[in-house]
């Protein structure tokens, strides 16, 4: 791509005082991505042109307060749960040393490959009243014995905390890794007990990272539909679905969604404010700090805590999926099944490559142009992550279908040609939808890697005559390998797990594992959903394992 020079425009505007610079090719690109993201958002907000008052009135009179309270409970509960797990485990594996620490430091990330909806049905299958655990307990201790009700706020919070804590763990662990034991010792030498020191120094020092991870968890929890519907737990998202599928009022659904979007934007703003402080918080710390050696029962307690979380969040559900799969393997494993797997992999891979390529270009643009306009464009282009998948899917589908119809009409009236729709039902649309949704996942890891390439390197390369794309290709790309690989992994796993966008935008015949899981779980056929779930889990694991080995010590 040639980079248009800006001197002409500059010369034209020089007389008028303030210098106006014509956007460069890079900025045009970011603008395009930002517009793509704005498209589904505008569809949501345009829906307010015809407010669905009757439905609003009904909701307000009946369930709205409960929905809001439920959503609030869920979000607060899941954040606290994920914080407790994510921060606690990250601190143990990042700053301490105990038996098994090396293994735990990456295995604790494995639940990242577990979609919340899968964990939800496995947990209900295991621990609900009719599940094997409670059944066995009743056999042992009589019919009176009961575990706390699984299908409750507590249950859904537990499941989502277990599924989402890796987002916090991933970020916080890096913070604690650089912090080591020094910070806590310094606090102790200044008269703080270890516990006080942990809360006054260790946590505040890692706050930007923890907050970043928590923001991701909050967004996921707010946007989740799969897990809450399996638990029949009513939240804002279920209300959106109800408005759409029950009342058949897309405007009402869009209006509800727009509120959700506003809420999430608030979160993003807070998160970005906190991230700004990360740079100073990172200063002057040894990259590989010494660890706190745990002794006596402490070290075994640490091992036990990590084993417990890993067991409950990953091993147990995986084994249960395996058990169910073994029961139905002979009848479910067919040629057709391999197609599903192939589609999932191919989609995940193409989306990952597309998104990471664009994220790289966008991040590079952000590096070259540090002005306000570029900054806000980039911010907009990563907003799609916050939208519930189905809402996003509609927001994409409606304008694209409109565009198609326009093109067809134009072709007919201008040239008299009968055209078939160009965009609908193509992989292009599907990838576009993934792009809008997962731009953030790709961008964030590349951007943080990009921050480590110093401007001196750019200058040295320019002296040798490397500019623009060639600079990116020959100098930055090799230096960004780590970030690129992280981005590829995250996007790949996310796309494989993605359900509503895949359902709505896939071309004929392009069923994936996630589609299969949807079809089976919605009919309560959890055993049969186990095999695609397990496959999905395993294919997500591979890149995570590759990603994580190498990162520790």
């Amino acid at each position: 791509m040639p980079i248009p020079r800006s001197h002409n425009a500059g010369a034209l505007m020089r007389g008028s005082g303030r210098r106006f610079r014509w956007p460069s090719g890079w900025q045009w690109l970011v603008m395009l991505v930002a517009l793509l993201v704005l498209m589904p958002l505008s569809v949501l907000f345009i829906a307010w042109l015809e407010p669905a008052w009757d439905i609003w009135r009904h909701l307000q009179q009946t369930v709205l307060s409960r929905l809001l309270f439920n959503t609030f409970k869920l979000v607060v509960g899941v954040s606290l749960g994920a914080l407790l797990l994510g921060v606690g485990l990250a601190w143990l594996t990042g700053a301490c040393d105990f038996p098994g620490r090396r293994h735990f430091s990456w295995t604790l990330l494995l639940p990242l490959a577990m979609p919340t909806y899968v964990l939800a049905f496995v947990f209900l299958g295991l621990f609900d009243f009719s599940g094997p655990v409670q059944t066995q307990l009743r056999i042992w201790f009589g019919p009176g014995i009961r575990l706390p009700e699984m299908r409750s706020a507590g249950g859904v919070i537990l499941v989502m905390s277990l599924a989402l804590y890796p987002y916090i763990y991933l970020l916080a662990r890096n913070a604690f890794r650089t912090q080591g034991k020094r910070a806590l010792e310094a606090a102790q030498s200044l008269g703080c007990s270890p516990v006080v020191g942990f809360f006054r120094v260790v946590l505040p020092m890692a706050r930007p990272w923890i907050a970043g991870g928590t923001a991701l968890v909050l967004m996921e929890a707010l946007a989740d539909f799969g897990a809450v519907s399996i638990f029949n737990y009513d939240t804002f998202t279920t209300a959106i679905y109800k408005a759409w599928f029950g009342f058949f009022s897309l405007p009402a659904a869009a209006q509800l969604s727009s509120l959700l979007v506003v809420l999430v934007f608030g979160l993003i703003l807070i998160e970005q404010q906190l991230r700004k402080r990360m740079r100073f918080a990172q200063s002057r710390l040894a990259p590989q700090a010494e660890r706190i050696q745990l002794y006596g029962w402490h070290k075994w307690a640490a091992t036990a805590a990590c084993s417990l979380v890993l067991g409950v969040a990953f091993l147990l559900p995986t084994l249960q999926l395996l058990r169910w799969t073994l029961g139905i393997f002979h009848q479910e494993f067919t040629r057709r099944y391999l197609d599903l797997l192939g589609h999932s992999l191919l989609l995940g891979l193409s989306a990952a490559l597309l998104i990471v390529t664009l994220a790289l270009l966008v991040a590079y643009c952000g590096r070259r142009h540090q002005d306000r306009l570029t900054g806000s464009l980039i911010r907009i282009s990563t907003l799609g992550y916050a939208l519930p998948g189905t809402v996003l899917a509609v927001g994409i589908f409606i304008p694209l279908a409109g565009l198609d119809n326009l093109l067809i009409d134009l072709a007919r009236s201008l040239f008299g040609i009968e055209m078939k729709p160009l965009l609908q039902g193509t992989l292009f649309v599907m990838l576009l939808a993934y792009l809008i949704r997962f731009m953030a996942a790709g961008f964030k890891s590349i951007d943080s890697a990009m921050h480590r390439v110093t401007t001196n390197i750019d200058e040295a390369s320019r002296l040798m005559g490397l500019r623009g794309l060639r600079l990116l290709w020959r100098i930055h790309l090799p230096m960004l390998r780590g970030g690129i690989f992280t981005a590829l992994t995250l996007v790949f796993v996310d796309v494989m797990k993605e359900m509503p966008i895949t359902l709505m935008t896939r071309p004929f015949g392009w069923d994936t594992l996630a589609v299969k899981i949807y079809e089976l779980t919605s009919e309560g056929e959890w055993e049969r959903a186990a095999m695609p779930s397990l496959t999905l889990l395993l294919s997500g694991l591979l890149p995570i394992v590759l990603l994580m080995r190498g990162t520790d010590d």
Binding site: R182, A183, E185, A186, A187, Q188, S189, L190, G191, C192, S193, P194, V196, G197, R200, V201, P204, M205, R207, R277, F280, A281, Q282, S283, R284, L285, A286, Y295
Partner: protein
């Protein structure tokens, strides 16, 4: 101020091990109030472990540690670091990056009341000359300033004992020298009792009242800088502290030793009988350049040090000595130069094995 008679720090025969390997062996030392002590040794000699044990970050295998008379560590018992009334300056300073300079220094003053906190924080900041920077964050000030903030933070709560782990190692050489003297002044002005560890003898000499030379987990000698240099108790100490070479000698009469440099007279502190063979420590400043002298030696190597040149010399009998010579006497390797011994303290050691 505790009673003068009770030492601020007392280590009684402490031992410490990692993974069943002894890293500190039977180590004892005493630090009186207001004294600045130093543990000097190569890396891996166990000096940092001793410091961390005193701070309470490591358990103790044997022996006991008293701070101001109170037992803080002994086998199986450990007073938490927070309760030991110690301050610590870490090698990497460990400033809290999320707090301003002021908040860093005030950190240990929690619970002293607002007025007192403000007063003592400002006092500490003024002591290290950084009051003007108190609103900045640690990453916004220079390395030397960070070091002083770390010091101010450690002394602000008025600890009974200040510990410093390689406090100057992250600074460049010129800054290191200036700061080490500054720190000594600050500590003396404040009357702080301190123990620090370093591998750099110049730092030790510049700052400490008493220095312990450590090797293999033991203190070889616990003495003033002067005595360490001029009265080393072993060849190990002699080699570690200052420069110089050992040459063979024979006690020819009381206060007289015959060596390859001729017959040397001086203050001899050796009770061995006449006729005993000994090793004699010859410091570079003990050899004087003298073109007239019949005693000649061959220049092996030279290193230019500005005012002086350090020559490594080969004596006729094959032994080596070093000579510190004013730099206007310029000789190249291979040349024969005349030298004259000028040894005041005859420091002798038994001939090994």
């Amino acid at each position: 101020m505790p009673d003068k008679k009770i030492p601020i720090l007392e280590l009684n025969a402490i031992s410490q091990a990692y993974d069943s390997q002894l890293v500190v062996k039977d180590l004892s030392l005493i630090l009186e109030a207001g004294e600045i002590g130093c543990l000097l040794g190569a890396s891996g000699c166990g000096k940092t472990t001793v410091l961390r044990t005193i701070a309470g970050f490591e358990p103790l295998l044997e022996g006991e540690i008293r701070i101001a008379g109170e037992v803080v560590s002994c086998y199986n018992e450990l007073l938490p670091p927070a309760k030991r009334r110690i301050g610590m300056v870490f090698q990497d300073y460990a400033l809290f990056p999320h707090l301003t300079i002021f908040d860093n220094v005030a950190f240990g003053l929690r619970g002293t009341g607002r007025v007192e906190l403000l007063r003592r924080t400002n006092e500490a900041l003024e002591l290290v000359g950084l009051y003007a920077e108190h609103k900045k964050y640690p990453h916004e000030i220079s390395g030397g300033q960070q070091q002083r903030v770390a010091l101010a933070r450690a002394i602000a709560p008025r600890p009974a004992l200040l510990l410093m782990d390689e406090p100057f190692s992250n600074l460049d050489v010129s800054l290191r020298e200036r700061l080490s003297m500054e720190v000594r002044d600050i500590l003396k002005e404040n009357g702080t009792t301190a123990l620090f560890v370093t591998h750099n003898q110049h730092e030790a000499f510049a700052v400490a009242d008493r220095i312990g030379v450590m090797a293999g987990g033991e203190i070889l000698q616990w003495d003033s800088a002067h005595d360490l240099y001029h009265r080393p108790v072993s060849t190990k100490v002699a080699r570690f502290v200052g420069e110089g070479e050992m040459i063979a000698g024979l006690i020819s009469s009381a206060g007289e030793i015959t060596t390859g440099l001729g017959c040397l007279r001086g203050h001899l502190n050796d009770s061995r009988p006449i006729g005993s063979a000994v090793q004699l420590l010859v410091r570079p400043e003990d050899i004087v350049h003298d073109d007239e002298s019949p005693l000649k030696a061959e220049v092996l190597r030279r290193s230019f040090r500005g005012a002086n040149i350090l020559y490594h010399l080969l004596l006729q009998n094959g032994e080596r000595v070093q000579a510190l010579v004013p730099s206007h006497c310029d000789h190249q390797p291979g040349e024969q130069i005349g030298i004259q011994p000028d040894v005041r303290h005859l420091v002798t050691f038994p001939v090994p094995g």
